[in-house]
């Protein structure tokens, strides 16, 4: 099963390596991992997406908790939560398809954030399947480059991950 796990970790050198090293050493799947400092500069927040049966996910959570640098973590999949992912897509936008690309961006409520005489760069935020849908909808030959952030997640309501 897919799980999305948020981790508050000391913002120290090597902290990211401890997490990625743990997944590599123990053979756990890791689909995406994003990390950035939080409003408290001594802490980083990590969001990682992983797959595994119940026993493996339990181990992943325990092993992450065991890392001395990990302050707190939450398996967002345990409760209602929101996921968002940012994607930037550079597409060919020349005479014939310039208008078509603009229309497609509008339909998906995406923003065109860079324009040249032959390309658009389109920014799109949403759940992963929405981003997938956009890529499917666009003519494959027109896509020059795709970059995705991997999902970020936050729980709904009062429950959350904080100190």
């Amino acid at each position: 099963m897919r799980h999305i796990i948020s981790v508050l970790i000391e913002n120290e050198s090597g902290a990211l390596a401890r997490v990625s090293g743990l997944f590599a050493a123990r053979g756990y799947n890791i689909e995406s991992l994003t990390v950035a400092p939080t409003e408290d500069a001594t802490l980083s927040r990590m969001t990682l997406v992983t797959y595994g049966d119940e026993m493996i996910i339990e181990q992943i959570i325990k092993q992450l908790n065991k890392l001395v640098d990990v302050v707190k973590l939450l398996d967002l999949s345990d409760g209602p939560h929101i996921e968002r992912e940012l994607m930037m897509v550079k597409v060919r936008a020349e005479k014939s398809n310039r208008e078509e690309m603009k229309r497609m961006a509008d339909i998906f409520r995406a923003n065109i954030i860079d324009v040249t005489d032959c390309s658009y760069t389109i920014e799109l935020t949403g759940a992963g399947d929405k981003l997938d849908a956009f890529l499917k909808a666009v003519n494959e030959d027109l896509i020059m480059e795709v970059v995705r952030s991997g999902p970020l997640g936050i729980s709904r309501g009062v429950k959350g991950l904080g100190l």
Binding site: I9, R18, K62, Q63, N65, K66, D69
Partner: protein, 577 residues
């Protein structure tokens, strides 16, 4: 008080109450060595290879319960220490390893004797630090010791660049009295409701077995365990790491379990309806095939490390906590109960266990012509039983024979590399034990292959007058490798014959020790007695044993507890499939 970085390192060791540091100097730690030279409180022991520094610190920690400390230089000094660090990690031994590092501005430049030792050791330490500012040394040292000894213990590495210990820079020194870390809060007492649930199962159990590991030794919970066993009349088995936590002479003790465990211990596990696992981690050498592990049992698991629980085997009642307070609670709740464990059921259960015992699975065919390794260990016990005795071991057949045939009565007396299985561990570990207990009798049982992995330490023993007794069970083979090749590779003994052996007795003599070669069973006891009477001398006993003796019983890797091979000597067809 203003101190240099190097002085802070040494002062921090003093403030932690450290008596000994095992180490080896080099460029990156010269400032620290200079600070060591100018004081007397912390005694430095110069080993001959950094692997031995970590093993000696480890042996000291296992025997005393204190944190072992090693100090090595950057680069090769640090990489040589890695095997010892991994050994301590696998067996959860509290240890602090200080490594020198190239100066901060050189880090990442492939400087002379530079390695990324925090990167290299990350998977085999409990935690590690790279200290980049002299102001951070004291706090980091305090954290390192705190992390090493609390919770599930383990090795912590502190990497200190040379410029951080610069003798021209002084900073105010104050050693933290207390360490508090928001990201590290080890548990203490177990959840009382969980303990009560375990007690419910214990009272109802018909066929219970207590299975305990190194956690009982590390958690100093041997007394509590013995009380629990006495109160419940439950049978108990130990892992390799747990030996000594219950007196081997206690009638409740079934011996070691697992791959080379006893018939009664493994059969009891297989037939049990309740397993109470305490400070044990369901290692593959213990469980055998997981699908067939304790098929009819509910499992209670007490462990200080939540990640050990339900890692390999799904448990019914997890109890996360220090073994000692949990066992105290468990005993208290049992005593409060009106209903005691089911005496009639236990009587029947003991009847079955005693029938398994009567197989006498460790029985072997002794010889008056050639020394059998089993006899060598039994005789060692006979000669040392009244002594204040510690036994360290290397890894292989001799280790299993020692575990099977030396009955340990107390915890922390059996010191061996269980998890990592590190050949070369025995002699340096014995140095650590002997240093801690100068008056105790310390022996190292080893093989001719293992001993050669750290044999240079005979020089260290000579320099520091360590009167260790080395019992080398010499069969000319890497015995355990040969045994597997005999069983599973049609006796193709690929590279397991250890050719070109030195004359060990003479080799020991060149290091200034006493050497003996013992070839006849009739000479063995007298030789041991003579060796142990030489109180101030290291005696190296080269005991020539039967070259092709095997360790029995044996469960093949991937088989169940009930599928043991018994010694062919016991009866040709005692193979219980």
């Amino acid at each position: 008080m203003e101190l240099t970085g190097a002085e802070i390192v040494v002062q921090a060791l003093k403030d932690e109450g450290v008596e000994f540091v095992w180490g080896y100097p080099g460029g990156a730690v010269l400032h620290i060595y200079d600070a060591i030279f100018q004081q007397k409180a912390v005694q430095h022991i110069l080993v001959r290879h950094e692997q031995a520094a970590t093993h000696a610190a480890d042996g000291y920690a296992r025997a005393t319960g204190n944190v072992g400390v090693a100090l090595v230089t950057s680069g090769p000094g640090a990489t040589n220490a890695v095997t010892g660090i991994a050994t301590a990690y696998m067996d959860s031994i509290p240890m602090v390893v200080i490594t020198g590092q190239v100066p901060v501005p050189f880090i990442g430049s492939d400087a002379f004797q530079e390695v990324d030792i925090t990167g290299i050791t990350r998977p085999c330490v409990k935690h590690n630090f790279l200290v980049k500012r002299v102001e951070d040394i004291a706090e980091t040292m305090a954290k390192a010791f705190y992390i090493a000894k609390t919770g599930r213990p383990g090795p912590v590495l502190v990497d200190i660049p040379k410029d951080v210990t610069d003798p021209s820079v002084r900073v105010p020194y104050a050693y933290p009295k207390k360490v508090s870390m928001r990201s590290y809060k080890p548990v203490e007492k177990g959840n009382v409701r969980q303990v009560r649930k375990a007690v419910d199962l214990m009272v109802k159990a018909q066929r219970p077995v207590i299975y305990t590991g190194g956690g009982v030794v590390l958690g100093d919970a041997s007394d509590e365990l013995r009380k629990l066993i006495k109160h419940t009349n439950f049978p108990v088995t130990n892992t390799l790491m747990g030996l000594g936590s219950v007196a081997a002479s206690d009638k409740h003790f079934l011996g070691m379990l697992g791959m080379h465990g006893t018939y009664e211990a493994n059969m009891a596990m297989h037939e049990a309806d309740l397993i109470i696992a305490i400070g044990a981690r369901f290692d593959d050498r213990v469980t055998g095939k997981l699908a067939q592990f304790c098929p009819n049992a509910k499992i209670v698991h007490v462990d200080v490390d939540p990640a050990s629980i339900s890692k390999n085997v799904r448990v019914d009642v997890p109890i996360v906590g220090q073994v000692k307070p949990v066992l105290k609670d468990m005993l208290k709740f049992l005593q409060e109960r009106k209903t005691a464990p089911d005496a009639a059921a236990l009587k029947e259960w003991w009847g079955r266990i005693n029938a398994w015992r009567s197989v006498d699975c460790l029985n072997y065919a002794n010889s008056d012509k050639v020394i059998k390794p089993q006899y060598a260990i039994e005789t060692l016990h006979k000669v040392t039983r009244r002594r204040n005795f510690y036994l360290t071991s290397d890894v292989g057949q001799h280790q299993m024979f020692a575990a099977q045939f030396y009955p340990f009565e107390k915890p922390r007396r059996w010191i061996n590399s269980g998890g990592l299985g590190t050949m070369g561990f025995g002699l340096p570990a014995a140095m650590g034990v002997q240093q801690a207990f100068p008056k105790a009798s310390v022996a190292c049982v080893t093989g001719e292959a293992s001993i050669q992995m750290c044999i240079q330490e005979l020089a260290t023993c000579s320099q520091y007058d360590l009167p260790i007794k080395i019992v080398l069970l010499n069969n000319g083979y890497m015995g355990m490798v040969r045994q597997w090749q005999e069983f599973f590779y049609d006796k193709r003994y690929s590279h397991s014959y250890v050719d070109a052996l030195p004359d060990f007795a003479r080799l020991a003599e060149t290091y200034g020790h006493v050497g003996m070669t013992i070839e006849s069973p009739g000479d063995l006891e007298a030789a041991y007695k003579e060796a142990f009477s030489l109180k101030d001398r290291l005696v190296f006993m080269n005991v020539i044993i039967d070259p092709e003796e095997n360790v029995y019983p044996m469960i093949e890797a991937g088989k169940g507890h009930h599928e043991m091979h018994m010694s062919p000597h016991l009866s040709a067809e005692r193979e219980l499939a």
